[in-house]
């Protein structure tokens, strides 16, 4: 080996104790673990997307189109379980949190590398359990991803395996969150105060607290559900003296904050991308940092807005409604700050920035329709309709999903050390945006007109919207293939990328692409705000 390569061995080429695939699954390097999560999650995403596409084809015409009603119930349940527990919740925090958190704060790894590896292992175990529900004799669960009691206590489908899978996946999520909190508290580079950190670690920090504090509640709830099924206990079954509303409360105490587990890191990604492609200091650094914590804090107190029609006192309803409006304020602060960061910036319309713009557009639609759902009166009109489906897909897919694509296009050169084709990436992004809106926007309209969610059959008057959605689904899927193909080609045969292709100012751009095993050859010392573009390029 020459001296050159001896000096810099990237984490991708590093040869350690283990060989071949074991060099990856036994690695404790945060960057390798991040890629393991990436490949697993992208695979699960496509499984979930194909299930979703099958639902779209089924709904293209009223009555039976391609599957039987029971299969359809299995499709929307497993689509939800996979997408929520295996894709969007771990997505940004496990992939980009793992890869970038240590780089952003100038550390060599996370605080507990072995625990990190363990988290991935149990993530895979939980995922295999969830996918196995498809193939058991009892058939896939048909309760919806929410597992509402009392139906979930009595259906003959494989609910026990599915909830166990969710429990195991939750445990993985808790350990990842714990690891990140300790990492941020203990491993920041000399000179890096909390208010010197880039804003992505801030968002990961807020999301990690939610992962840590909310997940145990749903964990114990799912275990109670399993015992209820095994031993005929009546915690949630009214016939045995239990209370199904209690299940809904316990479920949403976790599952509403879970929305913020996915959207906070997404906001963090966008906050990194916008200053870089505008070459402008981020507007209102402290406001963005603190709004992350505010969203995490208030987000714990709004779960009741999922249950306006379930039976709740009038006081509880206006209380939850008020808090829902309050939690929208810090999100709006972020949107204003992103847009003000662009003001008078020198904007460079590269794929990551394009995705970030789409994110803001879709997030505003998703967020404001969330307020329609958060207000009690309008909620009653659109509760459990396709309007809700459209709303949360705008937030989860349009928000978290587009942020994920923005992140992969932004940090791709750092991860692989090569560059993808920019034009093709832009084309993929625009096609994705068109397909996405074609798929989900009609659902707002037919939902408002009364199309219920999760229904197998529908009145002919809704067919125009369902057909547009199905076409949108096909366009979206094609766009995903364009995007992934371009990225795979870029990783394999792309031009070598420089250390700092986008002229970013955070620490990860100061080291070679791809980074070495221990990230920083000399420990960085931080003296300034992370978004300092005034010193000139």
């Amino acid at each position: 080996m020459s001296n050159e390569t001896e000096k810099h061995v990237s984490y991708l080429d590093y040869k350690g104790e283990y060989k071949g695939i074991f060099a990856w699954i036994f690695s404790t390097d945060h960057k390798r673990i991040a890629l393991l999560y990436l490949y697993a999650i992208v695979t699960f995403f496509f499984v979930g997307a194909i299930l979703g596409l099958m639902m779209r084809f089924e709904l293209a015409a009223p009555g039976e189109t391609i599957v039987k009603p029971q299969t359809y119930n299995g499709l929307f349940t497993v689509h939800g379980v996979i997408m929520i527990f295996m894709v969007v919740i771990p997505g940004l925090s496990a992939v980009f949190g793992n890869f970038l958190l240590p780089l952003h704060i100038g550390a060599k790894d996370v605080a507990f590398p072995k625990l990190n590896r363990f988290s991935w292992w149990i993530f895979i175990v939980g995922s295999i359990m969830a996918i196995m529900t498809q193939f058991l004799r009892q058939g896939p669960p048909d309760t919806g991803w929410t597992f509402y009691a009392p139906y979930s206590t009595s259906t003959g489908t494989s609910v026990i395996l599915a909830t166990s899978a969710a429990f195991v996946l939750g445990f993985s999520s808790i350990l990842t969150g714990l690891n990140f909190i300790v990492t941020i508290h203990r491993m920041r580079a000399p000179g890096m105060k909390f208010f010197n950190m880039p804003l992505f670690p801030w968002s990961i920090y807020a999301a990690s607290w939610i992962q840590l504090l909310a997940t145990p509640v749903v964990g114990i709830t799912l275990i109670m559900l399993i015992f209820e099924r095994l031993f005929g206990i009546g915690f949630f079954n009214p016939e045995l003296g239990g209370d199904p509303l209690l299940f809904q409360h316990l479920f949403w105490i976790y599952s509403h904050p879970a929305v913020y587990i996915m959207i906070l890191p997404a906001m963090g990604v966008i906050t990194e991308i916008i200053p870089t492609f505008c070459q402008q200091k981020v507007y209102g650094y402290k406001a963005i940092a603190i709004s992350s914590l505010a969203i995490a804090g208030v987000g714990f107190l709004v779960w009741g807005h999922h249950m306006y029609t379930s039976g709740m006192s009038e006081q509880a309803r206006w209380f939850f409604s008020l808090l829902t409006f309050v939690v929208a304020v810090p999100s709006a602060i972020k949107v204003f700050n992103w847009i003000l960061t662009m003001y008078k910036g020198s904007i460079d319309l590269k794929p990551p920035f394009l995705y970030a713009l789409f994110f803001i557009f879709l997030f505003i639609i998703g967020g404001t329709t969330g307020l329609i759902l958060g207000a009690v009166a309008t909620n009653i009109q659109v509760h459990d309709t396709a309007f809700v489906v459209a709303h949360f897909h705008y937030i989860i897919f349009g928000g978290m999903g587009f942020a994920f694509f923005a992140a992969i296009h932004y940090w791709f050169p750092k991860i692989y050390g090569t560059m993808y084709n920019i034009k093709r990436a832009n084309f993929g992004a625009i096609l994705l945006f068109i397909g996405f809106n074609l798929l989900y926007f009609p659902q707002f309209i037919i939902g408002y007109q009364g199309m219920p969610r999760r229904y197998y059959d529908y009145l002919p008057q809704f067919q125009w919207g369902q057909i547009l959605s199905t076409i949108g689904g096909v366009v979206l899927f094609a766009a995903l293939i364009v995007m992934v193909a371009n990225l795979v080609k870029g990783a394999k045969k792309g031009e070598p990328a420089p250390a700092n292709p986008w002229h970013g100012s955070t620490l990860e751009w100061t080291i070679p692409s791809p980074p070495s095993l221990e990230n920083f050859d000399t420990d960085p010392v931080v003296k300034k705000n992370p978004y300092d573009y005034n010193s000139g390029i």
Partner: protein, 205 residues
Amino acid sequence: MSNHENHTHVHRDDEAQKLGMWLFIFTELLLFGGLFLVYSIFRAQYPENFHESSLELSVTLGVINTVILLVSSMSVAIALTAVQKSNYKLAKLMLLLTVALALAFMVNKYFEWGAKFHHGLYPGSELMQLLDRGHHLYFSLYFFMTGLHALHIIIGVILLLISYVKINKGKVVSDNFMHLENAALYWHLVDLIWIFLFPLLYLIS
């Protein structure tokens, strides 16, 4: 192909270890917190039934188990201080005492549960299905909560035994005792949860 030189230096941060354990303890508290919530709702709904059912439990056994766990928390604390003062013999003795007390707790629990099983009172039994709703829920919660707590006792004992082995091997020493400190922290948590379970289940008036 030759391996690259292993640069990974040993990075030790006791504060991080302790912070990690405290965070994990938060999650455990929330796990039981969900159960306490369910308990309080059903107790408010069926106060009479909960009171009658609790009379079936032996307060004496409960008190003995409470004392056992309180003493075991003390012995594990002594073990930690002993390690800090390099008195490894005392530390190991105290760890064994802690484990013995934990086993005594489990034996008591075995007799308590065994008596209930003997009377046909166990989750999923025919008798349970015939009970009033409040009684049924009380005993379901009783088995669920004490069972989950017993699982935590077992995990705690395993952690303490690993600490014991580490003291033997000289890996837990007076200037590097985080493993024992974390195991002890976890043990105090197990104790603390019992302090809540005991009055909630045994002393309903």
